[in-house]
Amino acid sequence: MKKRNRINEIKVTLPSYSVNEAAARAVVSAFTAQLNPTFDELSDIKCAVSEAVTNSIVHGYRDMIGPVLIGVKLYDDRSVRIEVKDKGRGIEDVEVAMQPLFTTDPDGERSGMGFTLIENFMDTLNVISAPGKGTRVVMKKKLSALPVSR
């Protein structure tokens, strides 16, 4: 089997101001655009990034501002790996947190659907977290093959 090679990568650190949710989406989608994703694929990726970054801002750094680290790697087999990491409070029980409709923020009108949307929009989702140790979300998606040009 052919080994896939990393062709490009970017790392961005943003403070956890909620206005940076849009900035994070813009950076990831602009960078991923070089693989020529479809409009739907890019929409899915933007939503997944928005969910992960919002989790860091709303839950990771609930009453404080801290760094949200975003890393994107592009591979020659047209796969994208996106990592969103924070140094916030961490998640008590990742399995429970990933259940649809689960939220620890009932007053803030959070739907509890963030991880569920990421799971649907990306091919894989891994969440590594422990209380006080921050959270690392790694998600991957393989983009569809480019149409053959004549």
Binding site: A22, R110, L117
Partner: protein, 119 residues
Amino acid sequence: MKRDICKVKFGTDEERLIATIAGEVDHHNARKIRAEIDGKMMRTRPAALVLDLSEVTFMDSSGLGLILGRLSKASDLCIPFSVSNPTAAVQKILDLAGMERIVKITRGKICDKREEKAV
């Protein structure tokens, strides 16, 4: 100059309040959209609230929270609530969350006159 990436436009139609959200609905913008719509709803006490999503260019799960929150606010005031004209990308998210079972979703023309208000 500050660029608005999201705003709410209000219109009325047969006593209904139609709130058209234009732009990106994320956690950051949802707070302002929520305050805007709830304020207008409390002041005008319309016969119904319609959340028009036809001009939404991006939405994540914060939009689901916004919709469910407005449903609950409207039901507190005994006002019927519906969502109208979601774009394809928004529809996908509504489907994943099974929103059609909880909220009435309509498609087609809804609005006549509008006053614009940047959030």
